[in-house]
């Protein structure tokens, strides 16, 4: 490699690369694979050198941590293993100009000329209209380019010749600069931006869709240069339209929302025009013509059969019907019915996965399902694969009967009667309304009334037909509101906005203290006697390490309006007049400068107390320099990322110990913790506060 290339890399490694250096590095990585290879190798060697000089790598520390933990529980941690931070706040100084001004100017000019030449080279290779850009993408979507695989990122250019493949749950959206053209690829899709024939520059956009679904909004294309989507079974010629094209092993299905698409079947070259509101399928055994998209009758048949399914063979026939419905859904892009099928899946999962007093994982799973179901757009975007759809349909009958038998006798009967009455009026949306209603009621009974109401309102917005809206808006939502209002009166037992000291213990009780930052929370009295538990919601804490023990039966994190809330399910068996430690942990104040954060550790312990039949949460907090109200809220996003909400969940071998935002190791034995506690204790003693240390913990 050239000497100046190596010097560039060295400046980068030493943290003194200038902005011009960065431009040069980017330009060379894009155009010179030798340089890119050297750059990659140099950064890896740099890591090795650092490791050699005793900077214990995170990996090594990580390994130790895992080995120390029986079972290797997987969880988040705020492990900090770096040594001195002499250069933490350092910002790389610009390179000194040792070669004199003229040489620097010449170098800059060379870089600029190089960058312009590179851009020009790209432009000459591919007209701008043929280069797509990544608008949004899931993690790790792979782009194959010239035999190499690169990871798609937002803003990245997708060149003719590039191939994109999405995996399970992956999506990617592309757009074209200067025109209103967008392509959305579904999970399990494979698309190639085809190159123009050698020497041809006056060409249109051309893709090969080998599998999966692409939804496209296509701006008017230049005259004579339509967008062409090629599939194994058919070719779609697009001049400016909105359409959806789904390809599987045996068919290509096109549905057009706006404009006209020419659809050419490959087996015989037959061509048809598909207009708005129509769909067509190129598939063996199906007539090749544009058909009016209507699936109402099919759905009606599906619901009727599901209602009457008694045996496994009944369910199997339902699956075939569902397959047909599914294809129609995609053709029609009928959102409501796909959402409905999601809801049926939710109902099943509720009954199958969530038992009374089960752990947090189950609740999270249901929340995830419900959140997905509640989102109309998500339901559509996911475009369920056939297998999943089959599962949902198969589950329909058992879900209904389980709901009926176990939880919803009253509501189900009401709903059933209502549905029958509504169907007489010709509204299949009644089924949606019932599904929404059942789930809302279920969440209400689980002690999440506000969430239930939210879902119900979302359902009401989803259901278009008047009968369904009447059921949700006039019957169920008012009922929930009434119940919620009644329950709120019971929720006032405790308010975490109110903190006072009592015998040296920070106690949360009635009364408000000013200056509390973002603190909020409450204990709900559980009204369902079968649950025998109480629900506490806390939204004030940022945990680095937290362990919930004993009386906590489940735990979850909810997010609403950008705020995170921790939900603790407390065991109702705690006798009146008794208390139990339900959690303890470390928190830190993220408001302080980064390199001083270690000073801001706060140790807390959470008691649950039964008094006169009500619940009280009692906090003890201490930490160096921490004001009593100094807790600040930071994001718990990591915990509520949808990916983490799906099973299988990491499970601690000593369940019901669960953790929030931290690894479940016993930090009380950590010398650094003892140090923090010591500081904290002194600080609080100075304030005249008696510090209570946990039994057997700390030093």
């Amino acid at each position: 490699m050239s000497r100046d290339g190596r010097a560039l890399i060295d400046r980068w490694l030493d943290g003194i690369a200038s902005d011009d250096d960065v431009v040069a590095i980017e330009s060379r990585i894009a155009s010179d694979s030798n340089f890119a290879r050297e750059f990659a190798a140099a950064t890896v060697e740099e890591s090795l050198i650092q490791e050699h000089f005793g900077q214990e790598s995170s990996g090594t520390a990580f390994k130790k941590l895992l080995q120390e933990r029986p079972g290797g529980q997987r969880a988040g941690s705020s492990l900090r293993i770096s040594k001195g931070r002499e250069d933490r706040s350092r910002r790389a100084p610009r390179v000194r100009r040792v070669y004199g001004t003229w040489l620097s100017v010449a170098a800059c000019l060379a870089i600029i000329v190089g960058a312009l030449a590179y851009n020009d080279y790209q432009r000459r290779r591919f007209p701008v209209r043929l280069m797509a850009l990544v608008k949004s993408t899931s993690a790790n979507v792979e782009v194959s380019r010239n035999g190499r695989t690169i990871i798609a990122v937002v803003g990245m250019k997708i060149m003719p010749g590039d191939a994109i493949r999405t995996g399970a749950r992956q999506r990617i959206s592309l757009f074209y600069e200067g025109e209103n053209t967008e392509l959305d690829l579904s999970p399990h899709a494979s698309i190639v931006l085809e190159r123009a024939d050698s020497g041809k520059t006056n060409v249109g956009k051309r893709f090969r869709l080998d599998a999966g679904q692409v939804k496209a909004v296509v701006d008017a294309q230049p005259a004579g240069l339509p967008m062409i989507v090629d599939t194994p079974h058919a070719e779609a010629v697009v001049k400016g339209t909105v359409f959806s094209l789904v390809v599987d092993k045996s068919s290509a299905r096109l549905a057009v929302t706006k404009g006209v698409v020419e659809f050419i079947r490959k087996s015989d070259g037959m061509s048809i025009e598909v207009g708005p509101g129509y769909y067509a399928a190129a598939a063996r055994g199906e007539e090749f013509l544009a058909q009016k998209a209507s699936n109402y009758d099919l759905l009606r048949e599906l619901i009727a059969k599901a209602e009457n399914a008694k045996t496994y063979s009944d369910l199997s026939s339902l699956a075939d019907l569902a397959q047909r419905a599914y294809r129609h859904e995609l053709a029609l892009e009928s959102r409501i019915h796909v959402a409905k099928l999601f809801w049926l899946g939710v109902a099943l999962n509720i009954t199958e996965h969530v038992k009374v007093d089960r752990q947090a994982e189950d609740l999270r799973f249901v929340l995830d399902m419900a959140a997905r179901a509640a989102s109309r757009d998500t339901a559509i975007e996911n475009s369920l694969p056939s297998e999943e759809m089959r599962m949902l349909i198969d589950s329909y009958d058992s879900a209904r009967s389980l709901l009926h038998d176990r939880y919803y006798d009253r509501y189900h009967d009401e709903s059933r009667e209502l549905m029958q009455a509504l169907e007489k009026q010709g509204g299949t949306d009644a089924g949606d309304a019932v599904a929404f209603g059942l789930v809302c009621v279920w969440f209400y009974e689980r002690g999440l009334p506000a969430f239930a109401q939210l879902l119900c309102e979302s359902g009401a917005a989803e259901v278009k037909a008047q009968p369904g809206q009447v059921y949700l808006k006039r019957v169920l939502i008012p009922l929930l509101r009434e119940r919620i209002a009644a329950e709120r009166e019971l929720e006032s037992t405790i308010d975490l906005n109110s903190i006072r000291t009592e015998n040296g213990v920070w106690r949360i009780a009635d009364g408000r203290v000013s200056g509390i930052d973002g603190a909020a929370g409450k204990i709900l009295r559980q009204t369902n006697p079968r649950l025998r538990s109480a629900i506490a919601t806390l939204s004030m804490l940022s945990f680095d390490e937290a362990v919930f023990t004993g009386q906590v039966r489940f735990l979850d994190v909810l997010r609403k309006d950008g705020k995170s809330k921790i939900v603790l399910g407390l065991d109702g068996s705690l006798p009146d007049g008794r208390s139990a430690v339900v959690g303890y942990g470390l928190s830190r104040n993220s408001a302080v400068p980064h390199d001083e954060r270690w000073k801001r550790w706060m140790w807390f312990r959470l008691h649950c107390i039964r008094e006169n039949g009500s619940w009280i949460l009692n906090w003890e907090i201490w930490g160096e320099g921490v004001q009593p109200y100094g807790l600040t809220t930071t994001s718990l996003d990591d915990l509520i990322e949808p990916k983490y909400l799906r099973p299988p969940y990491p499970r601690h071998p000593r369940w019901p110990f669960v953790t929030v935002g931290g690894a479940p190791f016993d930090f009380r034995g950590d010398p650094a913790f003892a140090l923090r506690t010591e500081h904290a204790s002194a600080e609080f003693r100075a304030l005249g506060v008696r510090v209570i240390k946990p039994k057997g913990g700390g030093k």
């Binding site: 190596r6 060295d10 490694l13 030493d14 943290g15 003194i16 690369a17 960065v22 590095i25 990585i29 894009a30 694979s33 750059f39 990659a40 190798a41 140099a42 950064t43 890896v44 060697e45 740099e46 890591s47 090795l48 050198i49 490791e51 050699h52 000089f53 900077q55 790598s57 995170s58 990996g59 990580f62 390994k63 895992l66 079972g71 997987r74 969880a75 988040g76 492990l79 770096s82 001195g84 931070r85 002499e86 250069d87 933490r88 706040s89 350092r90 790389a92 040792v98 993690a139 790790n140 190499r148 695989t149 690169i150 990871i151 798609a152 990122v153 803003g155 990245m156 990916k643 990491p650």
Partner: protein, 173 residues
Amino acid sequence: MNDPTREFLRLFLSEQVMIRGFVSAALRNRAEVDDVFQEVALVLWKKFDDYDPARPFGAWARGIALNKVLQKRREMGRLPAILSPETMGTLSGFYDNVGGTGSMREALRACMRKLSDESRKLLAMRYESRLALKRMAREIGRTVSAVNKALGRIRSSLHECIERDMKREGGVL
């Protein structure tokens, strides 16, 4: 240790140097690299259930690392110039060719022994004491640029030495 844990550790430890290298290619401040790398390690561990063993672990890890880097950039506002997402996406593929960090580690150890005392002292200042170049320049009475060049020369000689050793041992670099 249970099997998934062992498997994770096996994969992670074999790729950790590469992952850290990739993160350090994206961020210039070493403290930020440390932070992001730790976060990447934890996310990899948390998401290990999602990992498809049919795919290379390194590529999967780099995807997550890239997302973390971008997240960091969003959090920090404007970091001192870092490579663009597109460049990082391009660069990611080249880490597949950086082979066997285990044998590289051995080779580096041997090559370190061959360095002069002065070179070792410079490296120790930079990597053990974690001194910034400015501070190093002050300590040894040279300019920042001179220190950078001296470190560059040492890195180059280490690189060549490692390459020679790896070729001799039949490894790939």
